[in-house]
Each structure stands twice: as C-alpha cells, then as structure tokens.
Symmetry: C3
C-alpha cells in the first residue's frame, strides 16, 4: 500500500480491514502512507523505487487521488509479475515507461467493489476490495475493459548543456537528501562539479562519510539517481534547496 | 491497535511483542498510533470509524489512557462480533451508543496480565496480554466481573435552529478536512448553505473536484458526517477553522 | 526493524520486500523507523527497551548508520535467544553491557547479501537479506569471522553527590516525558526531591494522575529509569528541559 492518507485517521486501517474480510490470508505491507498530500509525482517515484524489490505476485494498491469521485478512471496495471491498482492519474507512469510489457484494465466490475462506493474514498470501497479479490485468485480479465491510453505524468527531462547536463530536484527524502532527474547513465563523462543554488560541489563521491561532517557531496543514490547530500546533515535545509530547483553537472 | 503512543519510542512494539509471545499466530493491524496525546474523543471517533470494516472476531486494543495506574477500570467490551480492550474512560462510547447489544467485563484476572503490571503502561502489561489471551481462545467470562455503567464521553449534540441545524467541528483529519457532529440523516431538508467562521459555502457536493481547486465545499464524508473541505487544499488552514468551532447549516 | 529511515520514502518497504523474497514466511514487526536521524544513542535505548518483550528466536534488524559505505563493519550479535543485525557503531551497546553471554560475527559472506550492495543502503542490500537468511535457518557461523571488540557507545554515568545522585536526561519520548540515566536501583535512599532546571519536584510518585493536571512529577518509568513528567502535559516543553540536561536527586 502506497498512499497519501497518513496514519492518523484510520483510513488505511479501513482499507486493510476490507482486504482481510475478502482474503484473510493476504499479507499486507505498508510502503508508505506519508506521500505529500495530492503529490502524484512523489507517489509515482516511490512506487518506481520499491517495485524492483518486491516478489512476483505482489499487488500494489496505490492511492494518491485528488480527483476521486470525478470522471477519472480506476485501473489495474499488470506489468512483469506484479500488479498495480489505483486511479488513472499518472501514479504508475514510471512503471509503464520503464517496461515495454504492460496491460491495463479499467475497473468496472461492481462485483469486485463494496456496494455503493463512497465518492471520496475509492481507496477503501474500490481499490482495496479489488486488490483483495485479485490476491484471492480472481482473474485480471474480470476487472473490466482494456485501457490503451493511461494518463501519464509530464516528467521533466534533463537537458544537455555546452559543458554538462542540467536537471532539477525531483524528490527530497526524510534526511533532506536531494534526488535529481539525472540518472547515473547520463553521467557519461567525468564530473568536475555539481552546482545547486550557490553551492559548487566537486566530483562524485561513493558514500556519505567521504565528505567531512556537515559538508555537501554528490553521489549516485540507491534509486540510481544523482543525489546531493550533506554528510550527517540535511542538504535541503543547509543549502536552501527545494523540490524543482535547478541542478547543473559540469564535465571536467 | 489504536493508541496515542506514536511510533517513535517502541511502546507499540513492546505491546506487539507481548501479544506474539502469548499468541504467535495473532495477526496485528495498526489502526493508528497517532491519536492526539490524551484525546479520548479523537480515539473514540477513529474506533467508531473503522469498526464496521473489520471482520468478525476482531479484537481491538485501544489505549488513550491519561488516567493509567489510577482508579479507572480496565475493561473488555463485546459488541456484535468484535471485542474492545482498553481503559474505561469513554474510548468506546460510540460503539456502545450505536448498538443495543453489548456486554462489558472489568479486567481483574491477574492470570491474563503480565506479572506486576507497571503503573504507567497498562497497554503493554494488561491490555496487550489480555487481548492476546482472548485471541488464543480464553473465554470472555474469565476476564472479570460484569460492568453495567461504563464511563461515557460527553458528546456535543447538534441543535435545530430556526432555519437549519447548528453543530461543531469534532475532527480534523490529515488533509485538514473538517468533520462535524452532523450526521447525513440530520440533513432532512435541502441545504442552501453551510456556514463556518466567515465562510458561506453553497449547497452540498458529492466529491472534491466539483468545487474549483482551492475553494471550499461541503459534502457527506466516508464516516457519514457533514464535512467541510477545500479541493486539493487544507480547509482547517485555509478557512482558519479548528476543533470545536461552530458550523451552521441553513435550509433552502 | 528499528531504523531512522522514517516511513515516507519507501526505504523500509524495500527492506521488507527483500526479506520476503528470501523468506516469504518471515513475520516482520516495526519497532520504529522514527529514531532521530543519525542518533545512535536513541536507537540503542529503544533496542534495549523492547528486547525483553520479544520472543526467543527474534532477529532484530537495526539501522542507524551514518557511517554506511565507509570502513565501519556490519555485525550480527547473538545474545540470549535473540539476534541483532546492523552496523558496528554502538547501536547494540546496551544489549552487550546488560548480558555476560554474547557472541558477534562480522558480516563478510557475500552469499548472504544482495549482489553489489549500494554504498549508501546496507539496510536493504546487506542487513535485510542477512536477517532473512538467518530467519530461514542459515547458521550464525556462516556470517563471517568472530568479533571480540565491538564499538561501544560512550554512555554518561550518574554520579553520587554529597546528598544524592546527579544524572542527565538521555531520552525524551513522544509525550515529552524525560528519561534519565538513573536506574531505579540507584535510588537506594528515600528521595526528598528531584531537581531539573529551575523546577524542584517533591518525592517519587507511582503514576501520572497522582500529580494535579499540568504539574510536574517524578516516577520510575516502564524502562526502569527515573522519569520526569507533567500529568497530561509535555514535560520537555513545560519545563524547558532537553536531552543532556542535568537532573539532581536529593535524599531526605
């Protein structure tokens, strides 16, 4: 389960209760419920990050769903050996982009939902029961008609510059580490420096302690992305850098 | 499990460890550990909200317990096909009010607790082991003597006015949505507007996106209560409205 | 699992996914993921606090690991009937100090890790798979060579004064309660007062409600430590007392 519901209000517990009523043997893992409210991009990045580690047969239920109750579709995406249940609003963009082999169905079979789904809580009344039914063996083909044009996020792409690459911060994690939209493979030449705001950071390090405590460094993080960090500190606060800020890589 | 213990300190893990030592097959679901510290009302509302979704046989362990170690009783409430274990301080008021069919026992059987319960942590030393024993098949009648006068919360009731209903905000969720003590069934006439603070909101909507982004709307939420929200925003912050503030419904 | 990863970013879910791929029957309990970032002391105290309640065979995976990727070792500690997997940085100091009977191995067997462990995320690539293999029956002796000199935290000790004991605040919990490095057994004489900052608190109480609402009290908490609390309030905020502040116990 990946949601922006937080853990205060019992919303995620209602979803789990619904799942366990349908399939008492379901094994439920919380990916996170602390996606920034309404941030489809953040949800999409986390889902991309965790998917490679989950076993075959995993069913992801993902709910970051500001358009709930309106015309947006509910979908099930099947990709590799995992499935993804949630709103058709771009939340699964990276899964779709990263794989040539996917199939989507629109959720339309009312037998797989709770009766009279509440218009503000499809997580509980549509997505949770649907995932539970799939986990209990209901066939993907029963979900509803095929979808070929899922909604995709408009993801900023890094651009080549005269002497390097320019991207932006697309994720700030709990430690204040700054993930950029620059994948490791884009660093095809040796890096002289990474610049962000007023800070110029020399070269690429491998781990945090290679920089003195409290100083900034750049490395390739565990998502395979260029990351700017401060050793034992909070890079976002220390450097005054936030989501969407520009990052420049300069070749040697 | 529903508590105000937070998740920082390992308190809830101690409770889970105690449960699993007694019943290694127990399936433990966190409802929330983020009830506002000492807020029995908030705990009671969350427990009411989640209960209908849990399967028969569920045992709720609920600990919002500022009076721990003092004269307040510990109780087990049996209601429908679910049980509730916790302090007798009003935490189960809504469960009791909503059902004619309930039975309560005072926790007095020391065989079902840890030895020498610590006076500040009955969650770990009394309620968790008791719930584990119940889940492992110990009979309700072994818990202790019958209780007929459980402590009940003093819940504010909405009042009829000349041209509508007046209630108050009784819950603010993670998104800043404002739940009122006005149930859907109290809206027996067509609603012209809902007023809160300086804001007048026309009519009742069905889902968030029916209002333009950033504007206020009123709807019936997934608890069956009148809710004031701001589409893709935080109504509490945007409207400056908080717990206990007055809400007025005006008939057409 | 005890970490400082928070629950926002999916890091802990990656660890759980790795564990379940290796041992689908593993039962995973979150102790906490909200250790203050990089605070080895806080992690060590929580691990000490929860350990006595977990069943035999429990494998703790603990990651508060600012030195990840550098020269610090990864270790497995076997102590009593539980095991502890994590960095060799003092995180298990209290477990080692409290027991004469322990054995440690350095993690060096690459067959028990993911391939090419990422230098910033040994939680996912080294500690989680190792714990999963142990839980699935792999022998402790396969982990790596014996370690006899684990890194230990420099823990402040309380000191005897002319008329009592002086210690310090070593933990502030979610409620603002202040745990001191003064164990119950150090209070060998009757206590006249506990002093902290400008506040003088008479005697030792047993439970919170023995003090009037909003006033300070001292008691022995559920960790067996001297604790300063404010009944139904936040002692840290109300008294302006923080981690590391001095606490004085005065005999009668």
């Amino acid at each position: 389960m990946t949601t922006d519901f937080g853990t205060r209000d019992g919303f995620t517990a209602q979803m789990k209760a619904v799942i366990l009523r349908i399939n008492p043997h379901a094994q439920i893992i919380d990916v996170t419920h602390d996606i920034r409210p309404y941030s489809i991009m953040e949800g999409a990045l986390v889902i991309k990050g965790v998917s490679p580690y989950f076993p075959a047969g995993t069913i992801h239920v993902a709910v970051v769903d500001p358009g709930v109750g309106g015309p947006r579709r509910g979908i099930v995406l099947r990709c590799g050996e995992q499935s993804y249940v949630g709103p058709d609003n771009g939340l699964f963009s990276f899964i779709i982009t990263d794989s040539p082999d996917w199939e989507i169905r629109e959720i339309s079979n009312a037998d797989l939902m709770l009766a009279n789904p509440h218009p503000t809580f499809h997580g509980r009344d549509v997505f949770a029961p649907l995932a539970a039914h799939l986990s209990a063996g209901v066939s993907f083909s029963f979900v509803g008609p095929t979808v070929v044009n899922p909604v995709m996020l408009d993801v900023p792409a890094p651009v080549k510059t005269r002497d390097g690459v320019r991207g932006e911060v697309i994720y700030v994690d709990r430690f204040g580490n700054l993930s950029c939209n620059i994948e490791a493979k884009r660093l095809e030449r040796e890096v002289a420096a990474v610049e962000v705001g007023d800070t110029r950071i020399p070269g690429i390090k491998t781990y945090f302690d290679e920089a003195p405590e409290g100083t900034a460094l750049a490395l390739i993080n565990s998502f395979g992305l260029l990351e700017i960090a401060v050793n034992r500190g909070d890079a976002s606060k220390a450097l005054g850098v936030h989501l969407g800020d520009s990052v420049r890589v300069c070749w040697k």
